[in-house]
Amino acid sequence: MKTCTSMLGCAGLILMLAGVGMAEDLTADAIVAKANRVAYYAGKDGRAAVRMTITDGKGGTRVREFAILRLNTTGENQKFYVFFREPADVRKMAFLVWKNVDGEDDRWLWLPALNLTRRIAPGDKRTSFVGSDFLYEDVSGRNLNEDTHELVETTDTQYVIRNTPRNPGSVEFKSYTVWIDKDTFLPRKAEYLDANGACYRRVEGLKVEMIQGHPTVMESAVSDLVSGSRTVNTFTRVEYDIGLTDGIFTERFLRRPPREVEP
């Protein structure tokens, strides 16, 4: 699972919130499963405009603006569409991701200036998302089955879960710890430890609002504690259940962006 880093805000189902009262008895796996639903599956679909500010260790900043569409499809599977507006040279660049929980994700890329659509082979999802400190995995969420989960602490307001990869060779971290709000089940912070046990990466949900009944992260940040780089996402125009259809998550719509991404 991942944290509130989801590009598309985060949300929890009303139904889920009802369960909070008996949360004390929940197992780590159950908490994580709920948090995953809240963070990545709010509504049937959703949309947001994102302003991403990447501040490098030396204080220089780069800004990227994009729209993101998300549709929950069958089971836990989802589809994402990311459409860039700024900076000027990447205007209309687009990504398409089909997240397959039981297998590899499918990814496509559209580079308008090269008049080129390319499929990206399934591979490591822990690669930087357009040069930011976010990873592709942060956008679509990490598969819950890739880690074992352990409830290490329960505070008054949060569950603290330690996640250890089942296949340590596949990732660069030894483990990561997630702080999940008890009331909303929204993950608020995650810290990644390297092989030496030092924290090298922190993901935080900085601002949360209720939108259409879903607790939604409106500002999130990733800090690379090694290089000093930090990326902050601010979300605007967040909307759920706008009636997205499967059809727009196709290569055809990469070349000709759907009207849903228009401001």
Partner: protein
């Protein structure tokens, strides 16, 4: 006045001893505070322009000093690309990345457990095992296990490590998809997998020749470290981690930081061995000459105390011990003993006449005071002149040696008398008197030398014309040699040929593009975005090209609006191009609204149709339902649709959308937005500029010494190639294949628009290894950094590249005026070398003048002053002539020797001329004096030359070339100036005797000991003659 110091010491020997002792103890107490500085970069002052620039560039591009580890396998048929070697390289990479401090403070790495077992921590101790190594380490506070910063973090910057397991690779994968992963995502399991890694690496211009050698026999890991002072320890760590590797894989460690740091560490060892060895050599030589330990203890004490106090002062003043100052002890030792040897030698000679220690000492000092003062002063002047060089460590070195020489002189004047009063027993002296063999002993022992000297004297006098002619010839030859001198240095060549650093350097530079990196940074001379007026002009031109023919009216309207906006904004002082755009986009949008609204509406409807079982009829029906579409456009579409009725489903949909694109693509608004991207693109996203960089790179690569040039342009071309790559289907006909091949090859290039460049770069920014691109270009793409790899670290090679670059720039002006700057250690060395050469010339010239003035004052004669300068001038010319003829590089140690030569070699001339005057006055004419001159005085000079030369000889055993150079050259300098003094001076005096020794009125030819000292000396001389 001459005897003030000495009389005081004779009266209060205990006080002198206590003062000296206290000073020495004070100096010793400074020693624990010592700090070492192995960094040749510090040859430049901290605020030196080029050094500041170097650090600014390192900061801007996140560049680090690298320890270069080369793994070479020449035995395996696949070279390094075999399962075993790649596995070991992967293991080493993981080890280095997991380096951390274990609980006992030792370095430790994390290794995977056996099978599915948990990881295990492997701790190690890199400290020396022998007692000598441990002791040295403690003395110099060097801890090989120190691989961590103050917070305990590894000094290896893991996320910046460069190695096959951690660098990105873009490659084609199945079904036309693109794969982004590390070059060696996993260590290979089969030879076939290993060969895939090889092919991937070879096809990436950033890796072939840098990370992997083009002959496939070697792979390099580049280990970035926080500061280069850790490089020796990191090298030791790598050696420890690879100790158990098979002999097939040979591991070589190199790079300037390692070379420099290793030099520093070995320098300390040299300091601890060479200086004592020099002391021992001098001790043995004196023992050979004088045979009495009690006699030679005193000069040794003077030498040791001078060294201790000088080093104590240096440390106490807070200076680091640098490569130069580590040689202080070695320089001081022979110089410091010289004076006291003179005194003691004379003391034992004269004692029998006075039979009183104090009186004998007074006599001797009176006699030797002036020559000793002047020889010391000239030596001091020679070293102190180094203080005028612009190189801080050389200044510190020069001034401290000057201090040491001064101190040695003071000690000779005070400690030696005190020592004689306290430690030399009268009984022993009296006993010696009965057996006055001391000077004779050595005269007998070296009687062959005596005879040789005498016959030489004869030759110099009678054949003075030949000698002068020969000298002139030597001078002429020397000058032609000096013209040939090659100014060059290379810290790697400071190691002897067999040293592991030299070997690694040779091996790796044979396999790779070069291990010496210099950075060439390009930035716009003036950062300027075209203003509103310029942008308008460009847009007007472009819009006519694109739309002039198809939409003449709309184009006219657009240009009118453009001109109006331009008029409106050009007068405003804040002509903000962005505001021009915003308004222009609106105007363009209005034009589009009229021309393209129908097409946009139809295209959108078609786009949203469900392709499932879509037919041309169904599509047309959907289009007809779209509201607000004008009839003409609808008619065009349905007309075009007629030729597409054979298609159904998604292919129909795409074909019709392609038709729509022809029209929707004629958007003025899109045009404006595209133009904005082009016009606002930073310099190093502009295709013209990038192609210029490409040419510059090709040109640099054509320089023989340049092995490799890498830049963001290489990364861009590679990514553009992989993105555009179309795999050739197996069924393709040969001509189709050729077309596709050519197409693919053509895409290995800089894309045509700034947007295309920007979009490819965006892919590179988002690789697995984040920010790797930004070592070659800044994040704002306004500055570009070329990595120039040289096969040689010779300064002259670096200089030739700089010159080549300048001539290229002059002949090929870039599209935008550029500022170009060099950085990198290889380049820094060039700069401090230049300073060294000019600084040394200046210091040589100034000390020449100072010594000339001193000589004129000493001899109260301009002629004698000039004569005194001649042997050393010939010596310096000959030495540097030899360097030129021998083809030895004029490097740091050679440069420093020039100033020293002067101070040391004038000593012989002082003694000789002083004695020559004295003897001539006594004998009445020069002709008679010559014979005397080649007895005792020549003997003393020869003995002195031998002592100093031998004192420097242990340096020849050092494994570091600068030490050997210093040893060899000082010995040569002594020999040459000895010869020049004994041959040339008598010849010159013979030639100029009329002026040098006027027959009448010698009142103005007063020498130091005239009057009070002539009698005893005369006695001694006679004794010498008798013998």
């Amino acid at each position: 006045m001459k005897l003030t110091l000495t009389n005081f010491s004779l009266r209060h020997p205990w006080l002198v001893l206590i003062v000296v002792l206290l000073s020495t103890v004070w100096a010793l107490f400074q020693f624990p505070k010592v700090t070492f500085d192995n960094d040749p970069e510090n040859m430049l002052a901290e605020d030196e322009g080029v050094r500041v620039y170097h650090h600014r560039i390192k900061e801007a591009f996140s560049l680090y000093d690298f320890v270069v580890v080369g793994i070479v396998n020449e035995k395996h048929p696949d070279g390094v690309f075999n399962v075993g070697t790649l596995g070991r390289i992967d293991r080493l990479t993981r080890d280095l990345l997991s380096l951390h401090r274990s609980e006992d403070g030792k370095p430790a790495v994390v290794r995977p457990g056996d099978g599915a077992g948990p990881n295990r921590i492997q701790s190690m101790d890199l400290g020396p095992t022998g007692w000598w190594g441990q002791m040295l380490g403690r003395a110099f506070s060097h801890d090989p296990n120190n691989l961590f910063d103050a917070e305990g973090r590894s000094v290896i910057i893991g996320h910046e490590l460069i190695g096959p397991g951690v660098v990105d690779n873009i490659k084609q994968a199945d079904q036309g998809s693109l794969r982004i992963e590390f070059l060696m995502e996993h260590p290979p399991r089969t030879p076939a997998e290993a060969r895939i890694i090889r092919d991937d690496a070879m096809s990436n211009p950033l890796y072939a020749g840098t990370l992997v050698s083009e002959d496939e026999k070697a792979i390099c890991l580049y280990i970035p470290i926080v500061t280069k002072t850790y490089s020796y320890n990191v090298a030791e760590l790598v050696r420890a981690l690879t100790r158990d590797w098979t002999t097939e894989d040979r591991v070589y460690i190199t790079g300037l930081p390692v070379a420099e740091d290793t030099f520093g560490v070995e320098m300390l060892v040299q300091m601890a061995t060479s200086a004592p060895l020099a002391g021992l050599a001098i001790f043995l030589l004196m023992w050979f000459f004088f045979k009495r330990v009690s006699l030679i203890i005193a000069p040794m004490l003077v030498a040791i105390i001078s060294v201790i106090c000088t080093m104590g002062l240096l440390i106490g003043l807070g200076y680091d011990v640098h490569i130069m100052s580590s040689m202080i002890a070695i320089f001081l030792m022979p110089i410091a003993v010289a004076d006291s040897v003179h005194i003691l030698s004379e003391f034992f000679d004269a004692y029998h006449r006075f039979r009183d220690k104090a009186e004998t000492v007074r006599h001797v000092i009176r006699h030797l005071f002036k020559p000793m003062l002047y020889t010391s002063l000239t030596t001091i002047a020679g070293f102190a002149s180094l203080g005028t060089t612009p190189i801080p460590p050389v200044q510190v070195f020069g001034l401290h040696v000057a201090f040491g020489v001064a101190l040695a002189w003071v000690l000779t004047m005070t400690l030696i008398p005190a020592y004689i009063m306290l430690a030399v027993r009268t009984r022993m002296l009296d006993a010696m008197q009965d057996c006055p063999v001391k000077p004779g002993e050595c005269a007998v022992r070296s009687s062959w030398l005596n005879r040789t000297l005498e016959s030489l004297g004869d030759v110099s006098y009678r054949r003075w014309r030949v000698i002068m002619a020969l000298s002139l010839l030597v001078v002429a030859l020397s000058i032609t040699g000096i013209v040939r001198i090659r100014v060059n240095d290379n810290p790697v060549k400071w190691f002897t040929a067999g040293h592991s650093i030299r070997v690694a350097d040779t091996v790796l530079n044979a396999h790779f593009g070069g291990t010496y990196t210099a950075y060439l940074t390009l930035e716009p001379a003036v950062v300027q975005v075209p203003d509103c007026h310029e942008q308008a002009a460009i847009m007007e031109r472009e819009v006519k090209v694109r739309f002039g023919a198809i939409f003449p009216q709309a184009t006219e309207r657009f240009t009118t609006a453009l001109r109006a906006l331009e008029q409106q904004y050009r007068t405003m002082w804040s002509s903000d191009p962005n505001r021009c755009f915003v308004e222009l986009v609106e105007t363009a949008g209005q034009i589009d609204e009229e021309a393209l609204a129908s097409w946009n509406a139809m295209a959108e409807t078609i786009n949203y149709l469900d392709p499932e079982s879509l037919t041309a009829a169904g599509l047309l029906e959907a289009v007809n339902r779209v509201a607000g579409v004008n009839a003409v456009d609808r008619e065009i579409l349905s007309g075009r649709l007629k030729s597409l009725t054979a298609l159904t489903g998604e292919s129909l949909q795409n074909a019709v959308l392609a038709v729509c694109d022809e029209y929707t693509g004629r958007s003025f608004r899109e045009f404006v937005l595209d133009m904005r991207a082009e016009l606002s693109a930073p310099l190093f996203k502009q295709p013209d500029m990038l192609r210029y960089v490409e040419r510059l790179q090709e040109y640099l690569l054509s320089q023989p010494v340049v092995g490799k040039v890498s830049s963001s342009v290489d990364a861009l071309k590679k990514a553009a190639y992989e993105l555009n790559f179309v795999s050739i289907p197996a069924y393709a006909k040969p001509e189709e294949r050729a077309v596709l091949d050519a197409r693919n090859r053509a895409s290995f290039a800089v894309p045509d628009t700034a947007s295309a460049v920007g979009q490819v770069f965006t892919q590179l920014e988002g690789m697995k290894r984040k920010d790797a691109l930004f070592h070659m270009v800044t994040r704002d793409y306004q500055r570009l950094n070329l990595w120039v790899q040289l096969k040689s670290g010779d300064n002259r090679d670096m200089e030739s590249v700089v010159q080549a670059m300048n001539s290229f720039l002059a002949a090929n002006p870039p599209p935008v005026a550029l500022n170009c700057g060099w950085a990198g250690l290889t380049y820094l060395n060039v700069v401090w070398q230049e300073k060294m050469v000019t600084g040394m010339l200046y210091s040589l010239a100034s000390s020449f003048v100072i010594v000339l003035v001193m000589m004129t004052v000493l001899f109260r004669s301009a002629l004698f002053g000039l004569l005194a300068m001649i042997p050393l001038t010939v010596t310096i010319l000959l030495i540097y002539g030899l360097i030129g003829w021998a083809g030895k590089d004029y490097d740091m140690p050679v440069a420093i020797l020039s100033a020293l030569t002067l101070g040391l070699s004038v000593d012989f001339a002082i003694h000789f001329l002083e004695r020559a005057r004295e003897e001539t006055r006594r004998a009445g004419q020069w002709r008679a004096a010559v014979r005397q001159m080649f007895k005792e005085p020549a003997m003393a000079i020869s003995r002195n030359a031998i002592t100093v030369s031998v004192g420097f000889l242990p340096l020849l055993l050092a494994p570091l070339v600068p030490y050997r150079t210093v040893g060899f050259f000082l010995a040569t300098i002594m020999a040459v100036s000895w010869l020049a003094t004994l041959f040339l001076l008598p010849a010159l005096l013979t030639a100029f005797q009329r002026w040098a020794f006027p027959q009448t009125g010698d009142t103005d030819v007063k020498t130091g000991e005239s009057g009070d000292g002539s009698q005893p000396v005369g006695v001694k001389m006679e004794k010498g003659i008798i013998q």
